[in-house]
């Protein structure tokens, strides 16, 4: 643990006495040692080397900047959470010791110190932190894996719906891509929606489920060549409420964020900003941002795709029609985003049409095989 051949751990010693630093360096000769002769130099080292520093040994009384100020700075930058600090001081006043612990030090060693004790405590603290780091890495990796397999399952499911609808499966891929682009742009523009990168991932993943309600629309309506009659259109419109109802049952037992977002998207991706959409006629910000974005993406992709009753419009024509309000009213901020991301959008749509995204291509092939068996 101490003497890993490939990587010596690094210890920063901050003490104003060169002798004290040397004694400590001597005791810890099998580690990489950095030194600072006052708090300010210590902070400079921390700024320069960051988490390459595995531990800090810190004195209290020093000129220019003392040990407590160093701890304060380490707290402000949250360094103390990842770099253990052992205080070594001739001060044995219990209030100072308490203050040091309050500021997050891992251990407190009084002078004069015993070389064996110093070594043992350094090794113990480093071992603990290393274990903690490994655990954090493991958890991060597992979350990542879980998200990835979630994403694959969602893709499989949404492709089943797509193929039943007689579509290629590109639609959900386009919606997902566009949702992501629009949300990222929106996040740069405003903090009104308090979006994080993981929210964006979640909404993009859930976007693929927007039409799952279509599974219960009769085949002859879904796949009717030509325009729908008014009655047929009314039946078609039920897909958003039906999709949401399917998910609502799930939500009662599994309070998963993914299902919650998918519910919003399913139910409200045909609402319009002026309240003229369906099924609930929600208006403006009553419509969750997830559903607002997916509805814009849905309209754009419908316009730019070929249907039995229409040819595909060009990107430019589709954007014009949306901006002119021919497909209903959208959040003006989102329309700004549409214009800002349009180059990326054009490029991304082209790439996915050619099957550049290999994961998604795999899913599509898999689903196609399943359905043809």
């Amino acid at each position: 643990m101490i003497n890993r051949e490939e990587h010596k751990q690094t210890i920063l010693i901050v003490d104003d006495s060169m002798m004290n630093r040397s004694i400590l360096a001597d005791i810890l000769e099998d580690y990489e040692i950095l030194e600072g002769s006052n708090g300010e130099e210590g902070i400079e080292m921390l700024e320069k080397y960051g988490e390459k520093i595995d531990m800090v040994l810190l004195d209290i009384v020093m000129p220019v900047m003392d040990g407590f100020e160093v701890l304060g700075t380490m707290n402000r930058h949250h360094w103390i959470e990842n770099i253990p600090v052992i205080m070594i001081s001739a001060e044995d006043d219990p209030t100072l010791v308490a203050k040091a612990y309050e500021l997050g030090v891992t251990d407190y060693i009084s002078r004069p110190f015993d070389s064996l004790v110093v070594r043992r405590r350094v090794v113990n603290a480093l071992t603990l932190y290393e274990k903690q780091k490994k655990l954090i890495d493991m958890v991060v990796e597992q979350i990542h894996e879980k998200e990835e397999s979630n994403g694959v399952m969602v893709m499989v499911l949404s492709h089943i719906v797509e193929f039943r609808n007689g579509e290629s499966g590109l639609h959900v891929i386009h919606i997902k891509l566009m949702t992501e682009l629009l949300l990222e742009c929106l996040m740069r523009k405003t903090d009104q929606y308090k979006l994080t990168h993981s929210d964006i991932q979640l909404i993009s993943t859930a976007s693929a489920l927007h039409d799952i309600g279509k599974i219960s629309i009769p085949e002859e309506v879904i796949n009717k060549p030509g325009r729908l009659t008014n009655d047929e259109f009314e039946i078609m419109k039920t897909h958003s409420a039906i999709g949401a109802a399917m998910l609502k049952d799930l939500l009662e037992h599994h309070n998963e964020p993914l299902i919650k977002v998918a519910y919003e998207i399913c139910r409200w991706h045909h609402e319009r900003y002026n309240g003229r959409g369906y099924p609930d006629g929600l208006e403006g910000e009553e419509i969750p941002i997830s559903a607002q974005v997916v509805s814009l993406a849905d309209v754009y992709d419908a316009l730019t795709s070929e249907r039995v009753y229409k040819k595909a419009f060009s990107h430019e024509k589709a954007v014009d029609m949306i901006l002119n309000g021919e497909c209903g009213v959208f959040n003006p901020l989102l329309l700004e985003c549409l214009l800002e991301v349009q180059d990326q959008l054009k490029k991304g749509m082209g790439d996915s049409a050619m099957g550049h995204s290999s994961d998604q291509q795999d899913v599509r092939n898999m689903v196609q095989n399943l359905l043809h068996q």
Binding site: D26, D59, F113, L116
Partner: protein, 122 residues
């Protein structure tokens, strides 16, 4: 002069330092380094300039080094002086306090010279 004889001469705790720092070689190495340490000069200069905050830090450093090396004979007056200066950091000393500081500084200086000359004979 052996390390042990040196410690006897300066009233240090030889057994203690060997127990903590493990080898006589290491003790000797750091005792030699003490010759280059400037905290005693810094302490004296700061006192002359009546910079009590700086004097406190220098005395504190000197005391810490003495603790590490078990230079008990020097550590005791250095410690007393450190604690006296700690209280003076923010204010000017009274005449009486100034006299005590002066007297302690002389003790530190005397013991410091004894210590340095013994180490030089190692």
């Amino acid at each position: 002069m052996t390390v042990q004889e040196c410690y006897e001469k300066i009233n240090g705790n030889y057994q203690g330092v060997i127990a903590r720092l493990m080898t006589e070689e290491r003790v000797k190495k750091f005792a030699m380094m003490f010759l280059k340490d400037t905290s005693c000069e810094k302490l004296q200069e700061s006192l002359a300039a009546q910079d009590y905050a700086e004097a406190f830090r220098a005395a504190h450093t000197l005391k810490g080094i003495c603790q590490n090396l078990d230079f008990t004979g020097l550590q005791e007056p250095a410690n007393t002086l450190t604690e006296l200066l700690r209280d003076l950091e923010e204010k000017q000393p009274s005449d009486e306090e100034a006299k005590r500081v002066q007297a302690l500084m002389e003790q530190v200086r005397t013991q410091y010279e004894i210590t340095v000359s013994a180490i030089q004979e190692l």
